[in-house]
Amino acid sequence: MHHQSHPAAALEREHLVVIGNGMAGCRAIEELIARDPSRYRVTIFGAEPHVNYNRIMLSPVLAGEKSFDEIVINDRQWYAANGIELVTSDPVLAIDRTARTVTAQSGRTVGYDRLLIATGSDPFIIPVPGKDLPGVITFRDMADVDHMLAAAGKGGDAVVIGGGLLGLEAAHGLTLRGMKVTVIHLMPTLMERQLDEAAGWLLKSALEARGQTILTQANTAEIVGTEAVEGVRLKDGTLIPASLVVMAVGIRPSVALARDAGLAVGRGIQVDDHMVTSDPAILAVGECVEHDGQVYGLVAPLWDMCRALADGLVGSHSGYRGSVTSTKLKVAGLDVFSAGDFSGTDGAEDIVLRDASRGIYKRVVVKDDRIVGAVLYGDTGDGGWYFDLLKRGEDIGAIRDMLIFGQAFASGGGVADPKAAVAALSDTAEICGCNGVTKGQVVACIDAGGHSLDAVRAGCKASASCGSCTGIVETLLAITLGDAVEAGPRTMCNCTSFGHDDVRREIVAQQMRSIPEVMQKLHWATPDGCSSCRPALNYYLLCALPGEYVDDQQSRFVNERMHANIQKDGTYSVVPRMWGGLTTPRELRAIADVVEKYDAPMVKVTGGQRLDIFGIKKEDLPAVWADLNAAGMVSGHAYGKSLRTVKTCVGSEWCRFGTQDSTGLGVKIERMTWGSWMPHKFKIAVSGCPRNCAEATIKDFGVVCVDSGYELSVGGNGGIKVRATDFLCKVATEAEAMHYCAAFIQLYREEARYLERTAPWIERVGVDYIRARIADDAEGRDALAGRFHVAQQFLQDDPWAARAAGAEREQHAPMARFTPHAVPA
C-alpha cells in the first residue's frame, strides 16, 4: 500500500483536470479526496487570480462586514498538501476531445484522462445601448466588488438593475458604503422567484425605509453617458443619474466551452445522474449543468451534485436525483425564506400568518396534508423545520392547525388539538397582544354576554385591532359557549376575518395606500385575495385617496376594465352618455354610423333613457369609442359601480304640468356627478311635477319638482325587490338640490359597503341617520359635498378617450393569431 504515495506511482495515476476554481470545482475535489486521496492526479484551472473563495460571501465583503481573507475556503496550503496543481489567471479556452487535452489562454496545453467542467455561470447582460460604457459592471466575482468599492469611494448615485437577491445585496452594500442607490426591477415584485407578492411588498417597504429607491415594473431603455456612465433611462423616459450601474438581472450557465467542444448542451451542459456529460471522459458539475431538465443557481444542489460526482469517480455510483431547493437569506439584514412551490397550485391550500406590528409574514402551502411550499418573512426561524417536513413528505394532518405557529408550538407538549391547546392556556395568558387582553378577560367578557366575535371585540377589545388573534378568540367562544355562539357580521370574504366596515375604518386609520399593504396589515389569509375582496379594496382605497391611489385594473370586474358591458357571447354593449337623456342629430348620426360600420346586431333604448349598441367585438371597442368621441360623446358608465344615468322628464319648458326645468336640472346634476365611482350602481332622476314621469321615487337619488321648490328623496330602486325612496327633505333652489345630491352621494361613497346599493344601506343605517347627516347638519353637509367635488376633479376623465388614443391597446388585441389550416405539414 505504501508505494502508492511514491512520486513514480503518482505518474501512473489518472489525470483529472478541473476547469473552474470556484465553489463547485473545488467542492468536487474535496469530496473526491475524502473518498480516495490518491486515486487521481488533479490540476485545477481558474480564470481569477485567487484561490477558491466563497462567492456567496461577496455581499458581506462589499458591505464591509468581512474581508477577502475571511471568505477564502481553501488557501494555497490546501492545494499543496493535497498535491493539486493550481493554475490561476489562466482560463481554459478550448477542449480537444480526440487528443484529450485542454488549452488555456496562456497557450499551456495539458492532457487529461478525466475532465471536470465547473465553469459556473455568467452574469446576463441586458442588450441595451451603453451596456459597454465604463462604470457598468456585474456582480459576480471579487473584481466586481473591487470595482464597486472604488466607485463607492467617490460617492454619488448608483443604479442597480435587477431586484433579485444579487441586485438587492449589491444595493445594500453600496448604500452602506454611502452611495444613493436606485434599484430598477422589471417585475412587479422584488425577488419574485423566491417571494410572493406579500413578502415582496414587505421587503420593498423595508428597503425604502433604509433610503433606497425601488422602482418595480421599470424597464431599462438605455444606459447613457459619453466617456463613462452618466445615468439610466427607462422606457417611460425617466432618467436616473448614476456614476455606477450594476447589472444583476440574472445568470446563465456558462456553456460556451462545452458547446464548442461538441458536448450535448441544453440550457446547461447535459449530465446524467453521475454528472457525466455526453462524453464519458468528461464530467460537469455546478451551475453550468442541466440535470433532468433542471439548472440550479443555488448552492445546496451543488453539494448534492458533488457527492454524486465523487461517488462516481471512485466507482461507487450513488447518483444525483435532483434537488428540492430552499432559500434562506438575509437580504440587507432582513430575514427571508422560501422553499418548494409556493405558487398555489391546484388543490393546494394556504395557511397564512401575518403579524403586522412585528412585520412578520408566514405562508405555508399544503396539499393533501403535505407541505409543498413555504414563504417566510421577518421570522425565518422555522424555515428549516418546514423544509424538512416538505422534503420528507411528512403527513402534517395531525398538526395542521398549529403548523403556522412553528415547531415549538405545533409539537409542544404533544397537544395536537388547537381547542385543547387554547383550553390549556392559563387565565393570565395574553391573547391579544395589541390590546393586552388575557384569556381570563376574554372568557369573562364572553360570560358577561359577549356571545359573538363582534361582542367580544366591543366588550374587551380582544381581536379588535390587528385581528391576528381572531382564531383564538373564536376558539374561546366555542369552548365557552358550545353551540350558543352567535354569528357575527359577515366577513368581506373567506380571505379575511374582518367585515367591510372594519377594513374601511382601518384603511383610513392606518393610512394604507395599496392592496398588498391592506392584505398584510389586516392579515389576509390568501396571497392575493379573491374576486370578491380585490374589487372592494380597490374601491375603498380609491375613495380614501382621491387623486393619489392608482387604480388596480386587475382588481376590477371586466366591465369596468373594458368600459363596456360584457354579453353572454363575449361581445360588448356600448352606451354613450346622453346628458339628462337629451340628444342631438349629430349624436344620433354618429350612433347610427357606428351601428352600421361595426355590424352591431341590435340597438336598444335603455331604462335610463340611453341608446345601447349591442354586439361590439372587444377588438373594435377602441375604434367605436374614437368614432363616438369624435361626435362629442363620452362613456356612459352603463357598466360601472358608478353614477349611471340621470333620467328626466321634459319639465316646464314643454310640459303643460311642469313646475320647474327638470331636464335642465337633470343635465346639470349629470354633469356634476358623472365619472364618480361608488359602492354600487347609482341612478338619479328628476321629475318636473308630482306625476313623476321620470320615476324619481325608485332611484338612488330622486328629485320631484313642485311649485315651491324641489322634493329630495333617497334609497329607491327597481330590481328584484322594488323599493320606493324615503323622503329626505325639501329645498328651495336648484343649487341646493345639487348641493344635497353631492353630499348624499359622498356619504354613500364613504360609508356604504362595496356592492351595497343605497336601498339596503339606508335600511341598515336608518333614514333618520341619513337625514341627520344630510338635512340637519349644514356643516357636515358642506364638508361631504366638498370632499365629493375634490374627488370628482380626478374622476371626471373620459375613459374612452384614453383608450381610443391607444392606452392599454393590448387589452383589446390578441397576443397572437394562428391559422392552423395554412400550416405546412
Partner: protein, 113 residues
C-alpha cells in the same frame, strides 16, 4: 413561429400580472393565456365550462380565474371548476423559455379542429 412542438406566442410580460391575453386560432375557440401574481403562466380554452364565458376577461387570483359571467372559479392548472361547481375546460400546455411563452402546438390545433 409555426414549427416544432411548441408555438411561440410572445413575451410573458406582454400579459398583465393577474391578467390575461388571448390567442386567436382560426376556426376554433380563442385560447386564454394567464399570468398569475407570482409570474406563472397558464393557458386554457377561453370558454367557461358553465355557459361559455370568456375566462380571459375574468379576475385572476391565486391560481384561479373567476369567470366574468357567473363567477365560477376555474383552476388555471387543471381547468377544473372549484368549489361546489362541476366542470372542466381544456388545458393547453404552456412553457416559458427565456421570457417567451410557448404553447403546445398539438393542443392548439386540436382547439381549432
Amino acid at each position: 413561429m409555426l414549427t416544432g412542438e411548441w408555438l411561440d406566442i410572445g413575451w410573458a410580460d406582454e400579459i398583465p400580472v393577474r391578467g390575461s391575453r388571448t390567442v386567436q386560432v382560426e376556426g376554433g375557440d380563442d385560447i386564454a393565456v394567464f399570468r398569475t401574481g407570482d409570474g406563472r403562466v397558464f393557458a386554457l380554452a377561453d370558454r367557461c365550462p358553465h355557459k361559455g364565458g370568456r375566462l380571459s376577461q375574468g379576475i385572476v387570483h391565486g391560481g384561479a380565474v373567476a369567470c366574468p359571467l357567473h363567477n365560477w372559479r376555474i383552476a388555471l392548472a387543471t381547468g377544473e371548476a372549484l368549489g361546489e361547481d362541476k366542470g372542466c375546460t381544456p388545458v393547453i400546455p404552456v412553457k416559458l423559455s427565456g421570457g417567451r411563452v410557448l404553447i403546445c402546438r398539438a393542443s392548439t390545433m386540436q382547439a381549432a379542429a
